[in-house]
């Protein structure tokens, strides 16, 4: 007889796995998770930074992208390069990211104690390294825009930086540090959620492609896979960069999630050369738990392409050598590219969709899936069970895109009315 699940989660990246973990904690639901490893899976490709403030103010992953955008705009407008302005995300994102960030110390302990899995949470801080007065201006304007987070911010003088991080370029004029931004091992976090979920009774269908969605009218009734149809009352779309295709199968609507390529460099194992995580305006740098130094990352719209390209790799390598000159004597062990699930407003797509039953979005986490996986798992669980939510998810619902469209249409209509 065909088994009936309460929930089938499509996608076993960090978001799908987190949902599986939080939904299975009470062990009262029949849950299945379906996953297929594909080139570019973002959770495996991620750097593993928990840079709640850093990412919210456009450092870390996005920094090269915003630098390029500033340059392109200046070239297009034929003006001198303006001082780079930080790219600050809206308040709702800060709340989402910071709340998630707060969950990690306890989550780490919980997964270790209850399930024997360790995702290597490390308290590192994130330092924005400044080389010149433009970098300082950039840092100033970040601080200006986040007055509520003053207690998480430290200014380091050149001397203090040199003492704290002696391997960083001695020409640096100082650093701005976000005290609450830390790091984990991203694929261990992903596997830790999965293993804990499995221990809680979630059935894992790994290496299993999803080929379709079964529906009755406007209700999702099953997920069709190569291992057969998994009947369910609710399906969760956690398909990362592939989420648009799945939403179309389930709802007939293509949610605006598209792959955004990021290339990363990894060094050979090195002795400890960085105490904390670092971002410059060229790249970010994090030394991972096993000594490898990870340097990222580009932001490219190249569809599902995951090749590494020399100009971009060179750019990253030079940014890293500028920041840590000793790297010139070291080797690059591996490079790769991941596909972030990007959305037009850089915010995730969470929650139900109007007129569709048995379907929940948990996708579009763009650059911050590792960081926001914890709160996403918790929110989806609360939403499923009809419990009060920790934060208002209205800004993250699919409906926001419809609203934006309507608003854009207003000016077109207005003149005729007048």
């Amino acid at each position: 007889m065909k088994k009936q699940y309460d929930i089938v989660i499509a996608g076993g990246g960090v978001i799908g796995a987190a949902c599986a973990y939080f939904l299975s904690k009470e062990k009262d639901l029949n849950i299945a998770l379906v996953d297929l490893k594909k080139p570019g899976n973002a959770s495996r490709a991620s750097a593993g930074g928990l840079w709640a403030i850093g990412e919210s103010v456009g450092l870390g992953c996005g920094v090269i992208f915003f630098k390029q955008m500033t340059q392109q705009r200046a070239e297009a407008e034929g003006v001198d390069l303006p001082p780079m302005r930080p790219h600050i995300l809206p308040d709702c994102f800060f709340e989402f990211a910071l709340k998630s960030n707060d969950m990690y110390p306890a989550l780490w302990q919980e997964l270790k104690d209850k399930h024997g899995v360790d995702f290597k949470f490390e308290k590192t801080g994130l330092k924005y390294i400044m080389y010149d007065k433009f970098d300082k201006l950039y840092a100033d304007s970040i601080v200006e825009q986040i007055p509520g987070l003053a207690e998480q911010i430290n200014w380091l003088s050149a001397k203090e930086l040199a003492i704290d991080e002696p391997h960083i370029n001695a020409d640096a004029i100082g650093a701005l540090e976000f005290a609450c931004d830390h790091q984990v091992n991203p694929y261990r976090l992903n596997e830790a959620y999965l293993e804990a979920a499995r221990q809680n009774g979630v059935e894992l269908f790994l290496q299993t492609p999803v080929t379709g969605v079964e529906k009755q009218g406007n209700k999702v009734t099953g997920v069709i896979t190569e291992a057969g149809t998994l009947s369910c009352k609710t399906m969760i779309n956690a398909a990362g960069a592939w989420a648009a295709e799945l939403s179309e199968m389930a709802t007939g609507i293509r949610i605006p999630v598209a792959p955004v390529k990021g290339q990363i460099i990894l060094s050979e194992r090195l002795p400890k050369i960085l105490k904390g995580c670092v971002s410059t305006t060229d790249c970010y740098i994090a030394q991972k738990d096993n000594g490898e130094v990870l340097i990222g990352s580009t932001t490219e719209e190249k569809g599902f392409d995951t090749t590494n390209t020399l100009p971009e790799i060179k750019e990253l390598a030079n940014g890293a050598m500028r920041c840590i000159p000793e790297l010139k004597q070291m080797n690059i062990k591996r490079c790769w590219a991941g596909l972030r699930p990007g959305t037009p407003d850089e915010l995730p797509v969470l929650g139900k969709m109007d007129g569709i039953e048995g379907y929940i979005n948990a996708c579009g986490h763009f650059r911050t899936g590792i960081l926001t996986s914890a709160i996403t798992g918790k929110l989806i669980n609360d939403l499923y069970r009809g419990q009060p939510l920790d934060i208002d998810i209205t800004p993250f619902e699919y409906a926001r895109f419809l609203k934006q469209k309507n608003e854009q249409q207003v000016p077109e209509v207005a003149p005729e009315l007048a």
């Binding site: 080139p39 050979e268 060229d282 020399l310 790799i313 080797n331 690059i332």
Partner: protein
């Protein structure tokens, strides 16, 4: 005629690569041959790295073949641009390779690419396999042939396949005491395959000659036996061998210990597929050769501009590599409209005929030496499987217990395959193990990463940012 801007690039200056370049030269087509070593010929016919007055431990046949491949290159060298000591790091864009020579990293563009990257050895972990003195069979042979050093004083040879008696003979001629050769295949199986071996009577005869040499010199050849474990503190001092049952599990009570200071282990080879994987051509799983790129009768891959020849497209040995290299060259000439389809067919015919015979010959050994599950039983819980990341069998057991079903998840959870060698050493065990546990052939692949070899940061350094 197709306009050729960058021409043909051949990766690998071994038997397949040089044969392809020579055939292209005969057709008036220039090519660039890239090889990581300081000499052409590949591991099999590269010869000594330094000149020696005489090579008494190498038979005349081999010396002749080393001379032949060098002559083949010299005769055609006005058509061949040879780039030695150059390592290919991976593709760069759609029609170029990224390569490294010393501290310089640069692109090599191509119109047509012939991949002839050969193979690497299949590591079979067992209790004690990481003790210094335990070596792979091909590595032992390279020490004799290219390094001109004796790998040990008192040795044993274990594994399966035609290379076992050959290496034992070469070791003996080099002055090593060979205490025994242990072939996992049963003698009866060899007898059953005699028809297959008759496809290449000369090769079969050579094999018989080697066996006669071993017998004459008192080196015992044991069939149906294989390795159990190796022992020694800082270096190898002894090994245990035993009879293998039908599934290659050691039979209790048949163990025999031998005092040796060096062991040659040869349970086969794996196609060197890292570059072809990065080139995104279609691949198939093969029990013998591992993951191998798919090619048609003309050595043409699933990509219109990529051809693959030699052991990198399935382990068949040097003679087949020569034929496949030449076939790839003829295909390229056909694609460039330098010869017609009829001309290509006529030229290819003798090569294809010989290739078919080699395949039939080789199939005999493949049936005998197909790896059996018993090989997976030779590890203790704390035997290290992944030597880069120090992952033990127990750690692999644990994640299989947790329901891991593919090689990528296994890698993520244990770090097996994440080291500098990118899984070339541990992948064979991990895949065989997953296949055995799950009873399915497809367990995913360790995806190679760019760059295929580590590169210094400094090779990417730009003065002005």
């Amino acid at each position: 005629m197709t306009e050729s801007k960058h021409g043909v690039v051949i990766v690998g200056g071994g038997t397949a690569g040089i044969s392809a370049a020579a055939e292209l030269a005969q057709l008036g087509i220039k090519s660039v041959v890239i090889d990581e070593a300081p000499r052409i010929g590949g591991p099999v016919f590269r010869g000594p790295f330094r000149e020696a007055i005489s090579l008494p431990h190498l038979d005349e046949n081999l010396c002749q073949k080393i001379a032949d491949i060098r002559e083949l290159y010299q005769k055609n060298q006005q058509y061949i641009e040879l780039r030695l000591n150059t390592r290919v790091l991976g593709p760069s864009g759609e029609s170029a390779l990224l390569a490294r020579h010393q501290d310089e990293v640069f692109e090599i563009p191509y119109d047509q690419l012939i991949v002839a990257t050969g193979c690497h050895e299949r590591s079979v972990p067992f209790d004690g396999w990481q003790i210094p003195g335990v070596m792979l069979l091909g590595g032992v042979q390279l020490q004799l042939k290219s390094g001109l050093v004796k790998p040990g004083q008192r040795m044993a040879v274990v594994g399966t396949g035609p290379l076992l008696p050959l290496v034992a003979t070469q070791l003996h001629k080099a002055g090593v005491v060979v205490t025994g050769v242990f072939e996992a295949g049963k003698l009866g199986d060899f007898a059953k395959e005699s028809r297959a071996f008759l496809n290449r009577p000369m090769l079969a005869l050579e094999g018989v000659g080697l066996l006669t040499y071993l017998k004459t010199n008192g080196i015992p050849m044991h069939y149906g036996m294989g390795i159990v474990s190796a022992s020694g503190e800082d270096c190898l001092t002894g090994i245990t061998v035993a009879q293998y049952d039908r599934d290659w599990y050691p039979v209790k009570g048949t163990e025999k210990t031998l005092d040796v200071d060096c062991l040659a282990v040869g349970y086969g080879f794996v196609s060197r597929n890292q570059l072809t994987q990065l080139l995104n051509v279609a691949h198939d799983n093969c029990q013998i050769s591992g993951l191998k790129p798919r090619v048609d009768d003309w050595q043409h891959s699933s990509r219109p501009d990529v051809y693959i020849a030699g052991d990198s497209v399935g382990i068949l040995g040097g003679e087949a590599a020569m034929m496949e290299g030449r076939l790839a060259a003829i295909s390229v000439a056909k694609q460039q409209d330098i010869i017609s389809l009829e001309q290509a067919r006529a030229k290819a015919k003798p090569y294809k005929n010989l290739l078919d015979k080699v395949k039939a010959f080789r199939a005999g050994f493949d049936r005998i030496g197909r790896r059996r599950e018993g090989l997976l039983s030779l590890l203790t819980a704390d035997t290290i499987v992944c030597r880069c990341e120090n992952v033990t069998r127990a750690q692999i057991d644990e994640v299989i217990e947790q329901g891991v079903k593919d090689i990528t998840s296994l890698k993520m959870r244990t770090r097996a395959g994440m080291g500098d060698c990118q899984g070339k050493t541990c992948n064979s065990y991990c895949q065989d193990r997953l296949r055995f546990e799950l009873k399915q052939l497809d367990v995913g692949e360790i995806k190679p990463r760019f760059p295929l070899d580590p590169v210094p940061f400094s090779s990417l350094y730009k003065e002005i940012l």
